[in-house]
């Protein structure tokens, strides 16, 4: 497949899940197992196509858009159907298809009440198109549509298959995100008019960087609200613990694995290059909020009694590191942010799988009720939990390390002239972030101590609990391999992104 001409591949890969959702929705509901297998096949084919696309990607030109399509879409407002993929999009795009495929496999055996695999899988595939489209759309209007498309299926996923407080969580998720995205839309339109009302193309607008400092500051504020809520940054994070905790396992995996990345991706792809002046002005604020998020997230984790809620709060902290990388406004920082994105997606996605399986076995997620001894009771599961938790706390040699370490390293010497006026602030941020890593290690190790070590409590000693099942091995192994591989060869992601990030920095003028 030639990355210069095979634009069909990207379009087909993007809309295949949507077509799959349509296929599923016309199948009779009684064919329960057939529906689940069909979903595996469709997401599998889509993943294979994306894998092929990844293999044919021209890595020597990873800074440029490949597999591009460009067609007029809405003539009245000059919106175009502009797709493409470069070194920044590729890892996230790949991750989206991988995670959805694994979720489809996982769903063949595990689906919470009230069942209805048809609706669940159709929504998941609709979600997939929305998420994937966000990473490959290079027209602001198209980007916005894909961005918003994600809301509805996720709302239903949480609201129909979620935990006891699903009503509250789903509505809160929807309204919160919606609130941010309307401000984002207003900012997009303002940019469009400021740039002469001729183009929505992200690349053309990046080259223009329209408006003066005042305009850029206001426009950045609008976009900031949209993306910061999605990331989520402290203090806009309050929807996340509820949504994550109440969502079904697959929903949590996709939320953590992909949805949160849309926010950071948006900052890097849209907010920084199009509004560099505004970004420089906001960078210190982003840095401060990011570090507050790191510390606050860790402290909240220490206070949690529910495993899943603990993992949810750990996301707030980890995304803080990603945002710290962005706040550094230099090449290493952007690299760190993008790497942190992928690492967090893989690790936390995996953690949510584990939390889901934990609940299926113990029918509770309360740490005190589980009461330790998992390494004795279900040893393989216990080992996996240890492995992933250790990866999440940033042990060198596993994926979690590189994003956090590089982000702090980058923030010591921020780019774009920030070092001149804010060097003290950034140094303080790095110090607090480092304290955050210690706290992160603290809560994860404490969690392991409480659920893994010791002897199983009386309540569970006699209970027959399954260790890791075959279907779980199948859906988890790729993630476990990735956690290790990215830890040992971070260049797998850094190398792909390198040229694209350099390219991006040229827009920033740094």
């Amino acid at each position: 497949m030639d990355p210069n001409t095979a634009s069909w591949a990207l379009v087909v890969a993007l809309f295949m899940p949507l077509a799959g959702a349509a296929v599923l929705s016309v199948m009779p509901s009684a064919m329960d197992q057939v529906i689940r297998r069909t979903a595996v096949v469709i997401t599998g084919i889509a993943f294979a196509l994306v894998a092929w696309l990844t293999a044919s990607f021209d890595y020597t030109r990873s800074g440029e858009l490949q597999f591009t399509s460009d067609a007029m879409w809405i003539p009245a407002i000059n919106a175009r159907f502009e797709l493409g993929i470069d070194g920044i999009s590729l890892p996230l795009f790949f991750l989206t298809y991988l995670l959805t495929f694994l979720c489809a496999i996982y769903t063949t055996k595990h689906l919470p009440e009230p069942g209805k695999p048809k609706a669940f899988l159709a929504l998941m595939m609709l979600l997939q198109t929305g998420m994937a489209g966000t990473f490959v759309a290079f027209d602001l209007v198209l980007f916005f549509v894909f961005w918003e498309l994600v809301l509805v299926p996720m709302f239903f996923m949480i609201g129909m298959w979620g935990g006891p407080r699903r009503d509250y969580a789903s509505v809160k998720f929807f309204l919160y995100t919606l609130f941010g995205s309307i401000f984002m839309l207003v900012a997009f339109l303002a940019i469009y008019f400021q740039a002469g009302a001729t183009t929505w193309s992200i690349q053309e607008l990046s080259a223009m960087a329209p408006g003066g400092l005042t305009f850029q500051t206001w426009a950045f504020l609008g976009i900031f609200l949209g993306f910061a809520i999605k990331v989520p940054m402290w203090p806009f994070h309050t929807w996340l613990p509820d949504a994550h905790t109440e969502a079904p396992t697959v929903g949590s995996v996709l939320l953590a694995g992909v949805l949160l990345k849309m926010g950071t991706y948006g900052f890097i792809r849209i907010a920084l290059p199009i509004l560099p002046d505004g970004a420089v002005r906001f960078a210190p604020l982003i840095g401060v909020l990011a570090v507050i998020g790191i510390i606050y997230g860790s402290l909240c984790c220490l206070a949690q009694t529910d495993v899943k809620r603990l993992i949810a709060f750990s996301s707030v902290g980890h995304m803080g590191f990603v945002m710290l990388g962005i706040a550094a406004m230099n090449e290493a920082g952007i690299q760190a942010a993008l790497f942190g994105n992928i690492a967090h997606g893989v690790i936390t996605g995996m953690l949510f799988f584990l939390a889901g399986s934990l609940h299926e076995r113990y029918h509770t997620r309360e740490i005190a009720v589980i009461g330790g001894g998992m390494l004795k009771k279900i040893p393989r599961y216990g080992v996996l939990l240890t492995f992933v938790a250790v990866a999440s706390l940033g042990l060198p040699g596993l994926a979690g390390f590189w994003g956090e370490f590089t982000a702090m390293w980058a923030a010591i010497s921020p780019g774009m002239g920030l070092a001149d006026s804010y060097s003290g602030l950034y140094l303080a941020l790095v110090i607090f972030a480092a304290i955050g890593t210690v706290l992160t290690a603290g809560y994860f190790l404490w969690l392991l101590q409480r659920v893994n070590l010791g002897n199983p409590s009386e309540r569970w000693a006699a209970e027959p609990l399954d260790d890791v099942m075959r279907i779980e091995w199948v859906s988890w192994t790729p993630l476990l391999v990735l956690i290790l591989a990215l830890g040992i060869f971070p260049v797998l992601v850094f190398g792909v992104q390198d040229a694209a990030v350099t390219n991006l920095m040229s827009y920033l003028g740094g």
Binding site: I74, P75, E148, G159, M160, V171, V186, L189, A190, F193
Partner: protein, 490 residues
């Protein structure tokens, strides 16, 4: 004076249809009476044919008071399309209720003649005739279930407030005539422009005229009739009032504000902007409290009117305002079309639920996804579209308004945008509440089976498809509305 019959062919077709409907109804007995519905639909199709034929033409007749241009054609197609959809959702409802079918269809078609005239009218008197042709049949239709107390109350409330506001409007019009010496909209604008500084008396009369239309579009504080009337009227009539009659009000309002009173836009635009803010905020806040679906849709339609009033708040006088005004009118037009598709659809589903069961409370929608997946899916699409979520046409309707507001940014436009944002979120709260109940709550025990009927299902399905298709390819609509500029014709 020669009359250009091609230009008024759609109205003539509708008038003949109305008379035929009345005659056919007289000749038929009992069950056969329901034939009048397809007869009316056939007449509507013929009128649509005549209207499509006018696309791209520029015609004037009755002096300069009746104008055909793309703007008028788009509006007429909107009305006739709504008429077709309302006929679709009325059939079973009236056939089973055995209400006065012939009378209903006659009145319905007559009201649409008035609507069809509205976007073409360029004269205060013709505008007044058009608005009365819409209102008077509507008063009767609201009270059509005459043995039902609520229906009578609906009609009475509607009538009293309606007549009062029309009287105010007529008073305003007469003073405008007295001050400018003409009833022709373009000449009024010219006369105001020549006079320079507008007198307070003139500004007062302008306000009176706007108040008259404010009643039709149920803008706050002239909205009090709307919820009671919608809830009490037969449901298809409520759909007509919420969509077509409101669109007609907007057509008239656009004509008087953007053409006749354009030179004093700096006076009425801020007032309209503030009314827009009040209308959408109040409509949304009250909608949050509703338990009856029709009342919820009624307050939601008040809020939607608020969104559509935002572009009026952006208007400016003079040449430099032309670009903004153009964008504003296009945004209103786009929103109206989108609103018609999704709101008639929502009423269609409500009729399907209500039919034979009489259910109308929101809690009766619990578990709808299991009882009737098509209706639940359709209602979800319509409600999400009313809220403005992709991939539905409602998103682009909001988009069009934001686009108009940012064509030339003013501080007031930003204030309007902030209120639009906050209100969109509030609105989602109650739209999602219904969606949640339909999909996530279990059906009540012994909930009666639904029989939407073939006809209604088809129409609801078509409207749902339209909402989604236009949501994916809004260009289909915007390429038509962007050609339809009222100002170039003015």
């Amino acid at each position: 004076m020669t009359i250009d019959f091609v230009a008024i062919a759609p109205e003539i077709a509708l008038a003949i249809t109305a008379l035929v409907v009345l005659a056919v109804d007289l000749m038929l007995r009992d069950n056969a009476k329901q034939i009048v519905n397809p007869v009316a639909a056939l007449g509507t199709l013929i009128a649509i044919g005549f209207t499509v034929n006018l696309w791209g033409q520029q015609r004037t007749t009755f002096g300069t008071s009746f104008v055909i241009d793309n703007y008028a054609v788009v509006f007429k197609l909107l009305f006739l399309g709504s008429l077709l959809a309302i006929l679709g959702i009325s059939w079973r409802f009236f056939a089973e209720g055995r209400y006065f079918q012939g009378e209903y269809y006659f009145l319905l078609v007559t009201a649409f003649i008035g609507m069809s005239i509205m976007p073409s009218a360029r004269d205060l008197i013709l505008l007044f005739v058009a608005i009365e042709t819409v209102s008077i049949p509507a008063f009767i239709m609201a009270g059509l279930r005459k043995r039902d107390l609520y229906s009578s109350e609906a009609a009475l409330k509607f009538f009293i407030i309606g007549v009062l506001s029309v009287a105010l409007m007529l008073f305003g019009m007469s003073m405008v005539y007295g001050l400018t010496g003409t009833t022709d909209l373009v000449n009024i604008a010219e006369s105001i422009r020549v006079a320079g500084e507008a007198s307070p008396l003139l500004l007062g009369s302008v306000m009176l005229v706007i108040v008259g239309f404010g009643f039709k579009i149920s803008a706050v504080p002239f909205h009090f009739w709307a919820p009671d009337t919608y809830a009490g009227s037969p449901m298809p009539v409520a759909a007509m009032l919420a969509v077509a009659s409101k669109a007609a009000g907007f057509a008239g309002l656009i004509a008087v504000t953007f053409i006749a009173f354009e030179p004093v836009a700096h006076v009425w635009a801020p007032i309209m902007g503030v009314l827009a803010i009040v209308t959408m905020t109040l409509g949304n806040l009250v909608a949050l409290q509703q338990r009856d679906l029709i009342r919820l849709l009624a307050y939601s339609s008040v809020a939607q009117a608020g969104y559509m009033m935002i572009p009026f708040g952006l208007a400016r006088s003079g040449l430099e305002g032309a670009v903004v005004n153009d964008a504003a009118v296009q945004a209103i037009l786009f929103y109206l079309i989108a609103y018609a598709v999704m709101n008639i659809g929502a009423f269609g589903v409500a009729i399907a639920i209500n039919r034979r069961t009489g259910l109308r409370s929101i809690s009766d929608y619990a578990g709808l996804s299991g009882r009737s997946p098509l209706m639940a899916m359709a209602m979800t699409v319509f409600l999400l579209s009313l809220g403005g979520a992709p991939p539905t046409v409602g998103l682009w309707a909001k988009f069009a308004i934001v686009q108009a507001a940012l064509t030339d940014v003013t501080p007031f436009a930003i204030v309007l945008m902030v209120f639009l944002t906050i209100n969109s979120v509030i609105a989602f709260f109650y739209y999602l509440k219904v969606v949640k109940i339909m999909w996530m709550d279990p059906a009540r025990d012994g909930a009666p089976a639904l029989q939407p009927g073939f006809n209604l299902s088809i129409f609801v399905g078509l409207l749902m498809a339209g909402t989604v298709v236009l949501g994916v390819l809004p260009g289909l609509l915007s390429s038509a509305t962007s050609l339809a500029s009222v100002l170039t014709s003015g």
